[in-house]
C-alpha cells in the first residue's frame, strides 16, 4: 500500500511519480531477463555435458558436500523471507523494522558466502580445482570430472558474485535508510533490491539440484 502523502522525488524525464515507479519496475524486470539469459547459457552448457557424461558427472557430484549445500539452500530461502519482510515494512514506511530485516538479510547472505567459502576450501584441499593439480579417481572419469568441476566453479562462482553484489547493494540501501535519505522514502528502491535478491535465490534453487542432486 502506498501512503497518500509519500514524498515525491521525480526525475525530470518522468511525468509523475507513478510513471517513474512503473519505469523502474519494468527496467528491473528487463534487467532480470538479461540475467536469466546470462545464467541460462551456462545452465544449458552444463545440461548438454551432463547428458553426454552422465555416469562421470554422477561420480563427480558425490564429491560435493550435500549437507552444506542444503544448509545454504535453507539460508538463502530464509533470506528471501526476510527480504520480503523488508519490502513489507518499506511499503508501510516503518524504517526501523525495515532496517532490522534488511540487516538480517545481509547477515544471511554473508553466511551463505562463508559456507560457500568453506566448500571451495574443501575442494582445494581435495585437489578438485581444475588445472594442473586436479586429481580424480577413478581415472577413466578424469576428464569429464574436470569438466564437471569447471562448470561447478563457473556456475557457483557467478552466483556467488551476484550474492556479493547483492550484499553491497543492500549495505548502501541500509545506510540510505539509516540516514533517512530522500531517495529511499518511497518503497520502490527497496522493492527493486528485493526483486534482484529473489532472483539470486531462484538461481540457487536451480543450481542446488542441478549440481548436488544428480540422480543415478
Amino acid at each position: 500500500m502506498v501512503q497518500e502523502q509519500a514524498p515525491q522525488n521525480v526525475s525530470l524525464q518522468f511525468e509523475d511519480v507513478h510513471q517513474q515507479n512503473e519505469s523502474y519496475i519494468v527496467g528491473m524486470w528487463t534487467f532480470l531477463v538479461t540475467e536469466i539469459m546470462f545464467f541460462g547459457a551456462v545452465f544449458a552448457t552444463y545440461l548438454v555435458y551432463r547428458v553426454a557424461n552422465h555416469t562421470a558427472f554422477w561420480e563427480a557430484h558425490l564429491r560435493l558436500d550435500i549437507p552444506l549445500g542444503f544448509i545454504n539452500t535453507c539460508v538463502l530461502l530464509t533470506s528471501s523471507l526476510t527480504m520480503a519482510l523488508t519490502v513489507h515494512y518499506a511499503q508501510r514506511q516503518m524504517p526501523k523494522q525495515q532496517l532490522l530485516w534488511l540487516s538480517v538479510t545481509m547477515a544471511l547472505a554473508m553466511a551463505f558466502l562463508v559456507v560457500k567459502g568453506f566448500e571451495y576450501h574443501h575442494k582445494y584441499v581435495e585437489g578438485l580445482i581444475p588445472g594442473p593439480n586436479f586429481r580424480f579417481e577413478p581415472a577413466e572419469y578424469f576428464r569429464p570430472a574436470q569438466l564437471f568441476f569447471s562448470l561447478y566453479f563457473a556456475m557457483t562462482g557467478l552466483h556467488a558474485l551476484h550474492v556479493l553484489i547483492g550484499v553491497l547493494v543492500m549495505a548502501v540501501m541500509a545506510v540510505l535508510i539509516a540516514i533517512r535519505h530522500s531517495s529511499v522514502q518511497d518503497f520502490i528502491p527497496v522493492e527493486l533490491v528485493g526483486l534482484y535478491w529473489h532472483f539470486v535465490d531462484i538461481v540457487w534453487i536451480f543450481l542446488f539440484p542441478l549440481l548436488y542432486l544428480i540422480p543415478r
Binding site: Q13, S23, G27, T30, V33, A44, Y49, R143, S150, A154
Partner: protein, 553 residues
C-alpha cells in the same frame, strides 16, 4: 518543396548551445547529446574498420600475398570484422539515431534512465578502446567469431583482451536495449497508443528485445572462452573434455539475431523516409510493425544454419533450414509494403529516398542470396566462400549502412538545425550504390567458383574479378568520405532548417530544430494515426513552440 527559414537574428535555446564546455558534453545525460557522442565515436570506428577493409582489398589485387604475410592478413580481416560488427554495425543506428529519436518520437523528455544511457557510451568507449588497443598491439587472428579451440588453446594473439573488450561493449548494448524497452512501454505521450507509434519505434522495440535476450548469452560464452584460455578450464576444447560445437551453438544463438540487431533499425528508418517522400501512409502499417516482431522471434530459431557443415544432425539441419526460409516471409512483407507505399505516391526524390531505394534493391539481393545459404545442399558448396561474404555485406552494408545514411540525411536538419547540400548528397548516394555493387557483385561469382573466405592467395584466373572488387571498394570509400566533408560543411553554411523542412508527420518534427534540452515545451497529446500525410500536404511549421524559454519543472 522549400526550406523553412527561421526568423533572422534570433538565437533560440537548444540542446546544442545548452553548454559548450567539454565537460558539459562528457557528463551530459541528454539523450540527444549522447547521440552526438555516439555519432562521433561510431564514425571513428567506421573509419578504422573501413581502412582495414581497404587493406584487405589492396592485398587481394594480386593472386600472391605481396602486401602482407598470411598471419598479418588474418589479423587484418579479424580486426575489420570485430570493429565493424561490434563497434559500428550493432550500435550505429540504435545508439545514434535511436538515442536521438526514440524519446522525441514517443513524446518524452528523455529516455527512462539517462545516466544509464551515458554509462552505456562510456562502456562502449572503454570496450572499444580495449579491443582496438589489443588488436593493434598484438593482433587477433581468430576471425571475429572466436571459434575455440583455436581461440582458447592455440592462438598466440591478444584474444583475451579483445574478448574482454567485446564483453564490455555487450553491456553497453544491453543498457541501450533496457532503456528503449522501458521508454517505449512507459513513457509514451497521452494518446500515443501502440498502433500510433512510428514504425521506427516498432523496429527499435524489436531490436531491443533481441539485444536483451541475445547479448547476455554471447557475453557469458565469450567469458567461458576467456576462462578456458586463462585458467585452462576446458569447457570447449576437446583435448580438455569440452565440445567446440557447443560454442558455435551458443555463439550463433546471439550472433545470428545480431544480424537483425543491425538491420531492423535500418528497416525502421526506411519506413519513415519512404512514407514521407511518397507523401503516403505506410502501406499495411500493422503488417510492417508485426513483421519486425516476427523477424525478432524467428531470428532466434535459425542459428543452426551457420553450422550445416559442422556435423550437426541432419534433422536439426532440416529444421533450421526451414525456419531460415521462414524469415524471408516477414522480410518480404516489408519490402513489398515499402514498394507499395511508393506506388502512386507523390515521389520527392531527395537523397534519403535515393538511399532507401538503394536499400530496397540491395536488401532484396542480400535476402534472396540468403536463401541459397539456407538451403542445405547448396550451402555445402557455398559455405565459407566469397558467396557468403558477398551475401552478408549486401545485408550489412547494403542494408544497415544505406539505412543509416538515409536516416542521417533525413534527420540531419533535426539534429543540427541545418540542411545538408542536396545535390552532392544525391551524387554521393549514387556513388555509394555503384561502388557497393562493383565491390560485392563480383564476389558472388568468386564464391560460386570456389574462392574461400579468409584466404589471400588465389588462382590467377580470378584476378579480374578481384580487381573489379577492389576498384569498387575504393569508389565506395570515396562515397563514405564525401558525407564527412559536406555534412561538416553544412554545420556552418547549410540553410537553416526550421522545425519541419520535409513536411513530415511524427512528434519529432513538431519541435524546434535543433530541439530544446527537454524536447517539448508541454507534453504533446497525440490525436491522429501515424503517417497521416493525407492531412498535411505541404511542408509547414506545424508547431514551433512558443518561444525561447525552456520549461523548467
Amino acid at each position: 518543396m522549400s526550406v523553412t527559414v527561421a526568423k533572422p537574428g534570433e538565437v533560440r535555446h537548444n540542446y546544442l548551445n545548452a553548454g559548450d564546455t567539454v565537460l558539459s558534453w562528457l557528463l551530459t545525460t541528454d539523450h540527444k547529446r549522447i547521440a552526438i557522442l555516439y555519432l562521433v565515436s561510431v564514425s571513428f570506428f567506421f573509419l578504422v574498420g573501413g581502412l582495414l577493409a581497404g587493406l584487405i582489398r589492396l592485398e587481394l589485387l594480386t593472386p600472391q600475398g605481396d602486401l602482407m604475410t598470411s598471419e598479418n592478413y588474418n589479423r587484418v580481416f579479424t580486426m575489420h570484422g570485430v570493429v565493424m560488427i561490434f563497434l559500428f554495425l550493432i550500435p550505429v543506428i540504435p545508439a545514434v539515431l535511436g538515442n536521438f529519436l526514440v524519446p522525441l518520437m514517443v513524446g518524452a523528455r528523455d529516455l527512462a534512465f539517462p545516466r544509464l544511457n551515458l554509462a552505456s557510451w562510456y562502456l562502449y568507449m572503454a570496450g572499444g578502446l580495449i579491443a582496438t588497443w589489443a588488436m593493434v598491439t598484438g593482433g587477433v587472428d581468430t576471425g571475429w567469431t572466436f571459434y575455440p579451440p583455436y581461440s582458447s588453446s592455440y592462438s598466440t594473439s591478444q584474444v583475451t583482451l579483445t574478448i574482454i573488450g567485446a564483453f564490455i561493449i555487450g553491456f553497453s548494448s544491453i543498457a541501450t536495449g533496457i532503456n528503449f524497452i522501458v521508454t517505449i512501454h512507459k513513457m509514451r505521450a497521452p494518446g500515443l497508443t501502440w498502433f500510433r507509434l512510428p514504425l521506427f519505434i516498432w523496429a527499435h522495440y524489436a531490436t531491443s528485445v533481441i539485444i536483451v535476450l541475445g547479448t547476455p548469452v554471447v557475453a557469458i560464452t565469450l567469458l567461458l572462452v576467456v576462462a578456458e584460455r586463462v585458467f585452462r578450464l576446458g569447457i570447449f576444447d576437446p583435448a580438455l573434455g569440452g565440445d567446440p560445437i557447443l560454442f558455435q551453438h551458443l555463439f550463433w544463438f546471439y550472433s545470428h539475431p545480431a544480424v537483425y540487431i543491425m538491420v531492423l533499425p535500418a528497416m525502421g528508418v526506411i519506413s519513415e523516409v519512404v512514407s514521407c517522400f511518397s507523401r503516403k501512409r505506410v502501406f499495411g502499417y500493422h503488417f510492417v510493425a508485426f513483421s519486425s516482431v516476427a523477424i525478432a522471434v524467428i531470428g532466434f530459431l535459425v542459428w543452426g544454419h551457420h553450422m550445416f557443415t559442422t556435423g550437426q544432425s541432419v534433422y536439426a539441419g532440416m529444421v533450421f533450414s526451414l525456419l531460415s526460409f521462414l524469415v524471408a516471409v516477414p522480410s518480404a512483407v516489408k519490402v513489398f509494403n515499402w514498394t507499395a507505399t511508393m506506388y502512386k505516391g507523390t515521389i520527392d526524390l531527395r537523397a534519403p529516398l535515393l538511399y532507401v531505394m538503394g536499400f530496397i534493391g540491395l536488401f532484396v539481393i542480400g535476402g534472396l542470396t540468403g536463401l541459397f545459404l539456407a538451403a542445405l545442399a547448396t550451402d555445402v558448396h557455398l559455405q565459407d566462400t566469397y558467396f557468403v561474404v558477398a551475401h552478408f555485406h549486401y545485408i550489412m552494408v547494403g542494408g544497415t549502412i544505406l539505412g543509416y545514411m538515409a536516416g542521417l540525411h533525413f534527420w540531419w536538419p533535426k539534429i543540427t538545425g541545418r540542411m545538408y547540400p542536396e545535390g552532392i548528397a544525391k551524387l554521393t548516394a549514387l556513388v555509394i550504390f555503384a561502388g557497393f555493387n562493383l565491390t560485392f557483385l563480383p564476389q558472388f561469382v568468386l564464391g560460386f567458383l570456389g574462392m574461400p573466405r579468409r584466404y589471400h592467395w588465389y588462382p590467377e584466373e580470378w584476378q579480374m574479378l578481384h580487381v573489379m572488387s577492389t576498384a569498387g571498394a575504393f569508389l565506395l570509400g570515396i562515397g563514405f568520405i564525401l558525407p564527412v566533408f559536406y555534412l561538416l560543411w553544412s554545420l556552418r553554411t547549410g540553410a537553416l532548417a526550421g522545425p519541419n523542412p520535409w513536411g513530415a508527420t511524427g512528434l519529432e518534427w513538431k519541435v524546434d530544430s535543433p530541439p530544446i534540452t527537454h524536447n517539448f515545451e508541454q507534453t504533446p497529446i497525440v490525436t491522429e494515426e501515424p503517417y497521416a500525410y493525407d492531412n498535411h500536404h505541404e511542408p509547414e511549421e506545424v508547431f514551433s513552440g512558443t518561444g525561447a524559454s525552456t520549461t523548467k519543472r
